[in-house]
């Protein structure tokens, strides 16, 4: 079933991709193939392999239970939030929170998780920000 769903999604993607290739604006001077030619080939390849999944699906993979799935979903949300908050709150604050969250969810004791978070944020800031001089996100306090 999972493979059939993948095939369905892939087929939809192929159709969308081919449609998006049709609306590529006509260039002033073009070569024999044009900017849309190769994408059409790719869309066909995508469609053919998707049809194959629908016709001959592999055995079902072992999906995680619902609460494990929720776990991954939450981690995903936290990471999206991190990308969002990083430029606003600064590197150290946001990194502490996210590292602590991940460490906690991966099985650390809450206290250990907080320590991991603080240590990771400060450690990475010192190594990459101060020693190597990379541009890390600056929050309201400058770090």
């Amino acid at each position: 079933m999972s493979d059939r769903v993948l095939g369905g999604v892939g087929l939809a993607l192929a159709i969308f991709y081919a449609w998006a290739a049709t609306i590529i604006p006509e260039p002033f001077s073009s070569d024999a193939v044009g900017p849309a030619g190769f994408p059409y080939i790719i869309a066909i390849l995508l469609a053919v392999s998707s049809v194959y999944f629908i016709l001959k699906p592999d055995p079902e993979p072992r999906w995680p239970t619902l609460n494990r799935l929720a776990e991954i979903g939450f981690a995903l949300l936290v990471m999206f939030a991190y990308a969002w908050v990083l430029p606003v709150a600064g590197f150290i604050l946001s990194t502490t929170v996210v590292t602590a969250y991940l460490a906690w969810r991966l099985g650390s004791h809450p206290l250990e998780a907080v320590i991991t978070g603080v240590a990771t944020a400060i450690g990475l800031y010192v190594v990459f920000g101060l020693v190597f001089g990379l541009s890390l996100a600056e929050g309201p306090f400058g770090f």
Partner: protein, 514 residues
């Protein structure tokens, strides 16, 4: 010999204090990453690329750092195989079979030292193979026109799944996905927008580093979350004494024929399209078992030759895999695809022209590989105890740190929230595709090579005035097509069998363990 003169120039480039220090750091980091289960060579190099880039290292220095990591990770994979019976990376799987029993018998130190020497032998002679074979391949590649290049890229995708691939449709799907992503952005030939839908962030296309770090490193974090921090293979089974860490001369002499055989096999497996290090170590181990112990008396019960063979094999293969990557610009495995990303990030397009236009980069790199080998040998024999300590870092602390380093790397090159979100999205996509058994390497390779593939197709068509038969017009092109078709079709018949055999071999030997 012109080759040796070139190599000498390469050493002149590589032998500066800064480069030596970088090689040392790279070897050290690489060995640690290889040793840690869940952080293979591809992941390790991937998260370090953006960092090496933003550190402002010049091309040769950055290459030296990252290839040292690559070789180091290949060495490091064996440590957890031997001590914990958990392969640090995929190619180290076969090392478990005899390495762990040796460790159980109190000979862990000996196994580690022997496998260190075997790794060195494999990698060292494979690098010599690279020195002599790559220029030959370059001679052939100079005959390639755009049409041949297009077919060569097709060949690379067709054979990427390898002989053990079970579902070629999934490889094709993944390749199409990757190439499709590469099309996003401004078309370089006509200047029109493609697939951007007016989104400014997409005008330059999607940076392949974002995709690599997301698909490899972040999806690994999700896998660990799925298994509640325990990883895929389960928990460690307890630790054991290391014992003596220097191999005795007798055991080295005993294993010398093994190492020679396995190095040759591994190198050939590495050069061929669609094989790579995993198959190299598998081939080396099973052939050695046939040759040395046909009745199965000692193999799987801690035979030192069973440790030496896969290690020499996988390190020779990882050296051999560099041949097509450097000479043709076509990587044959996931890790070499990541190395290709390194080169492209540094604005170096591998292929025959690289050998002609910037020999200092090529030969400097090869010289760096030699230096890295000696450093790894020197690091690994006396300091193996230190590396085994790394295994004590629990994944519940390690994985968050890895994720954060991935974020730092991407943020430091893009500085934008959009790109970070894209990376997270790729991480989630990577997790789903891994569940569905869709290989990730063709996606990466598609993003890396998609544009180059299209450019060559369009150039060929322009030359031929839109006549598609130009793709089949030369013997060279026809030969490449033939290899591509065979490489794609053969696994459909053999893939399941090879995979079953690999599983059988592993189980058989493990069965005798319990």
């Amino acid at each position: 010999m012109e080759v040796l003169a070139n190599l000498a120039d390469g050493f002149a480039v590589a032998l500066t204090w800064q480069n030596l220090a970088l090689a040392l750091v790279g070897c050290f980091l690489g060995t640690m990453m290889g040793a840690l289960p869940g952080l293979g060579p591809a992941n390790g190099v991937a998260i370090l690329i953006p960092l090496a880039f933003t550190l402002g290292l010049d091309a040769v220095a950055a290459l030296i750092l990252l290839t040292s990591v690559y070789y180091g990770a290949m060495y490091g994979g064996r440590i957890s195989s031997i001590l914990l019976n958990i392969p640090g990376d995929e190619p180290a799987m076969m090392t478990c079979l005899d390495g762990y029993p040796m460790a159980q018998a109190g000979r862990a130190g000996e196994a580690l030292a022997l496998s260190g020497v075997a790794s060195f032998v494999g990698a060292f002679f494979a690098t010599w193979g690279l020195v002599f074979l790559a220029p030959l391949l370059v001679q052939i590649a100079l005959l390639f026109g755009p049409a041949e290049y297009f077919v060569l890229y097709t060949l690379a995708f067709a054979t990427l799944g390898g002989i053990a691939a079970t579902n070629q449709a999934k490889s094709a799907f993944a390749a199409a996905l990757g190439i499709g992503i590469a099309m996003i952005g401004v078309d370089t030939q006509t200047g029109v927008q493609r697939f951007t839908f007016g989104e400014v962030h997409l005008f330059d296309g999607i940076d392949f580093l974002i995709a690599i770090v997301g698909l490899f490193a972040l999806s690994e974090v999700f896998v660990f979350l799925e298994h509640q921090g325990r990883g895929v293979q389960g928990t460690a089974r307890g630790r054991m004494a290391i014992g003596r860490v220097t191999p005795s001369l007798a055991i080295l002499r005993y294993c010398t024929p093994t190492m020679i055989r396995s190095t040759v096999l591994g190198f050939v497996a590495g050069v061929l399209p669609g094989a790579g290090a995993s198959l190299g170590s598998f081939l080396a181990y099973s052939v050695e078992r046939q040759v040395a112990d046909p009745r199965g008396k000692t193999f799987g019960k801690g035979d030192p030759r069973g440790v030496a063979a896969p290690e020499a094999g996988n390190n020779a293969a990882s050296g051999g895999a560099l041949v097509p990557m450097l000479a043709l610009g076509v990587p044959g495995s996931g890790t070499t695809a990541v190395l290709l990303a390194v080169l492209l990030t540094l604005n170096i397009q591998p292929g025959p022209l690289l050998f002609q236009n910037s020999p200092d980069v090529v030969w400097g790199l090869i010289a760096a590989l030699f230096i890295g080998n000696f450093m790894l040998l020197a690091l690994n024999i006396p300091m193996v105890g230190l590396f085994t300590r790394v295994l004590l870092i629990p994944t519940r602390i390690l994985m968050p740190v890895v994720a954060m380093i991935a974020f730092i790397g991407i943020y430091s090159i893009t500085g934008s929230t959009f790109e970070l979100m894209l990376m997270v999205g790729f991480g989630a996509l990577g997790w789903v595709l891994r569940k569905l058994d869709v290989p990730l390497v063709p996606i990466i390779l598609g993003i890396l090579l998609g544009n180059e593939m299209e450019v060559n197709l369009r150039r060929a068509m322009t030359i031929s005035n839109g006549d598609w038969t130009t793709l089949f017009d030369s013997w060279l092109a026809l030969t490449l097509w033939a290899i591509a078709v065979v490489g794609f079709v053969l696994p459909m018949f053999l893939g399941k069998r090879v995979k079953r055999k690999m599983a059988q071999e592993t189980e058989e030997v493990e069965g005798t363990l319990d």
